[in-house]
């Protein structure tokens, strides 16, 4: 199978969905032909679909997200790019009070088929306003779907599903996965929400990891295989809805769970997964559930500090070894 980059997979998903459905439009800052998106996800799309459908917005997050909400309510399917995940905070009213609740408040009359996609995560010395992982905030809100794909294959299949969803979708792309490559079929495919993916099979311990931490965990699993520890890596891919069955079946099989995400550990989604495992698989556990997340700090600027505050393969490996006797 051909290999393409994550950014190319996302670009293909947008292109294919825009070709398929004339109601799909793109909104965002600098997504047009001049800049092609801060991370080039929208490269070449204005050239194909024109400025009416690929719309460069002013720097007004709350209102261009709100514009997307209103457009979605009335028949368009906007895919809105927020240039950095941190800037989502400028649009929280439209996402949480409007998009998420509109169906409910209107007694089922309104649908808001909007996708809000954004690069997030640390690793480039972008400091505290361009590096956060905020996905857990949105998992708390009824009405939102939360997607966090880790591979090019998942990114493409899930973005296409997100664009076809009639509920609002928060779509988190790690900015340091954009250039990673992986197999993506030429033929069309979709990945349903709520289906976790077992990235590596194993029998001694389950790592439940998201986004960049999936790549780190795969690396650790490969290393530990040589050291005689068999690690299974499960990627939930969508946090809401969460594939409880695949995750809990894996933990029932291995008897041990380590949950890893880049977002700050406190209040992170690892707590929710822990709770789910306790509900579904407590009797199968041979060791306490362990979670590994970011330290409780903003993301610092200078490289050594930035690396220090988020989990890395070394720390993941150490945590596995502590759990497996």
């Amino acid at each position: 199978m051909r290999e393409i980059k994550y950014v190319e997979a996302l670009n293909e998903a947008l292109k294919e969905e825009m070709e398929r459905d004339p109601d799909v439009i793109l909104l965002g800052e600098d997504i047009g032909k001049e800049w092609q998106g801060a991370f080039k996800v929208t490269k070449g799309l204005e050239e194909i679909f024109g400025p009416e459908r690929v719309r460069n917005t002013p720097i007004s997050e709350n209102s261009f997200v709100g514009c997307g909400v209103g457009a979605a309510m009335t028949g368009l399917k906007p895919v809105v790019e927020i240039m950095f995940g941190d800037l989502i905070l400028l649009a929280m009213d439209q996402i949480i009070n409007q998009a998420a609740k509109m169906r409910y408040m209107s007694g089922g009359q309104a649908s808001v088929p909007i996708v809000i996609r954004t690069p997030f995560g640390s690793g480039g010395s972008y400091a505290s306003h361009h590096s956060q992982s905020l996905e857990a905030l949105f998992t708390h809100i009824p009405g939102l779907i939360v997607v966090q794909p880790s591979t090019p294959y998942d990114a493409k299949g899930l973005l296409k599903t997100a664009i076809r969803s009639i509920d609002p979708v928060m779509f988190f792309e790690h900015k340091f996965i954009y250039k990673k490559s992986g197999p993506v079929p030429e033929d069309e495919y979709l990945i349903p929400f709520g289906e976790a993916d077992i990235k590596i099979e194993g029998s001694d311990l389950t790592i439940i990891a998201t986004s960049m931490m999936v790549w780190h965990s795969i690396k650790v699993a490969k290393e530990l295989k040589n050291e005689g520890i068999s690690v299974e890596v499960v990627d939930p891919r969508t946090l809401v809805p969460l594939d409880k069955k695949t995750i809990s079946d894996s933990v029932k099989k291995t008897g041990r769970a380590l949950i890893v995400h880049e977002a700050v550990s406190r209040g992170g989604f690892s707590g929710e997964i822990t709770k789910m495992i306790i509900d579904e698989a407590f009797d199968y556990l041979d060791a306490p559930i362990k979670t590994l997340g970011g330290l409780p700090t903003p993301i610092p600027f200078t490289p050594n500090l930035e690396k220090f505050v988020v989990p890395d393969p070394k720390r993941i490996k150490k945590a596995v070894i502590e759990l497996v006797p």
Partner: protein, 326 residues
């Protein structure tokens, strides 16, 4: 006055305004009797604005509304039975009892929803305007909002966006001078919100929000401009509410003289006496019949609401997502 309007059209204006007024005064009484839970913000006093604007719209045009949204619903053609049932929290209400006063929505008549967040409906109307432009040329979208919302970021951002993209959106500011108890003149140096339009490169118009004919005429101009591809207009309607902001608000922050002055300009009384009877010599019995018809309709709406069941508890979990999530 506008010579183009026929007597039936003028009577229709009266009927809509009277319907809003009766609905609001009735709802306010029922709130006082605790028949209606929570709070509500009555549109009484401001009827000329919604009526004058919405008579220029069709069911295919969109409006986004505010916490003070009953008038927009009625003027846009919503069903008062379903509105009243929603205020009562009943299953037969527009939102199945999940929305209440501040979230009444009727997609069938292009009413995209009242809104509990001040200023939040403005970008939503811009999005509907984008849909009009890309999918349904000739349709327009109207954002209703108050003077309070004019100081939200969404006001500035949305007008800028709609102007830059030349969208068919009419921004209607209902300036009733008070954001809850805060006098707009104390939090904004220029009391004319319409003056801001020039900063966004669009036209700003001030209408007498107590005069339905003035609102109608100026809204017509703005709406036709938008329908013909001319882009947005900011239409400020100077108006005044009869009641306080919401439940429990006697509105003591408004000077007595100011209140009396505005009440003399009541949009319904003046329209009836000066225009319908004074200028047009319409038979008072005709007007009386309309009034009686509306009063009966409101009574029916209250009975419908009273007799309707509350929703089952299980319905609380419905309509969060389009389908049940695993």
């Amino acid at each position: 006055m506008d010579e183009d309007l026929t007597d039936p059209q003028l009577l229709q204006m009266f009927e809509i305004m009277y319907k809003i007024r009766q609905f609001e005064l009735t709802a306010y009484d029922l709130l006082g009797q605790n028949m209606i839970p929570g709070t509500l913000h009555t549109y009484a006093g401001e009827e000329a604005v919604a009526t004058g604007v919405c008579l220029n719209l069709t069911d295919e045009d969109y409006v986004s509304s505010t916490h003070r949204g009953h008038g927009h619903c009625i003027a846009k053609g919503a069903d008062i039975n379903k509105m009243m049932a929603e205020l009562f929290g009943k299953k037969t209400g527009y939102c199945k009892g999940k929305g209440g006063s501040m979230h009444i929505t009727d997609f069938k008549v292009g009413m995209l929803g009242a809104n509990g967040i001040v200023g939040a409906g403005i970008p939503i109307a811009v999005g509907a305007g984008l849909t009009c432009k890309l999918k349904y040329p000739g349709r327009v979208s109207v954002a209703f909002f108050g003077d309070g919302a004019s100081n939200q970021g969404t006001f500035h951002e949305s007008i800028n966006l709609a102007a830059a993209w030349n969208l068919p959106v009419i921004f209607v500011c209902e300036n009733n001078l008070y954001a809850m108890g805060t006098d707009i003149r104390k939090v904004t140096a220029n009391p004319n919100i319409a003056d801001r339009a020039i900063g966004y490169g669009i036209k700003g118009i001030i209408a007498d929000g107590m005069d339905v004919l003035d609102v109608y005429k100026k809204a017509k101009e703005a709406i036709e401009h938008a329908r013909n591809g001319g882009g947005p207009t900011l239409l400020e309607c100077k108006t005044y509410r009869i009641k306080g902001h919401s439940r429990y608000d006697p509105a003591l922050y408004r000077p007595k003289e100011e209140v009396e002055e505005w009440m003399k300009r009541d949009c319904i009384t003046n329209f009836k006496e000066k225009i319908l009877i004074g200028e047009k010599h319409i038979d008072q019995n005709v007007i009386h019949e309309i009034e009686q018809k509306i009063i009966r309709q409101i009574e029916q709406a209250v009975n419908f609401a009273k007799e309707s069941p509350f929703p089952e508890n299980s319905s609380a979990l419905e309509d969060v997502y389009a389908e049940d999530l695993k």
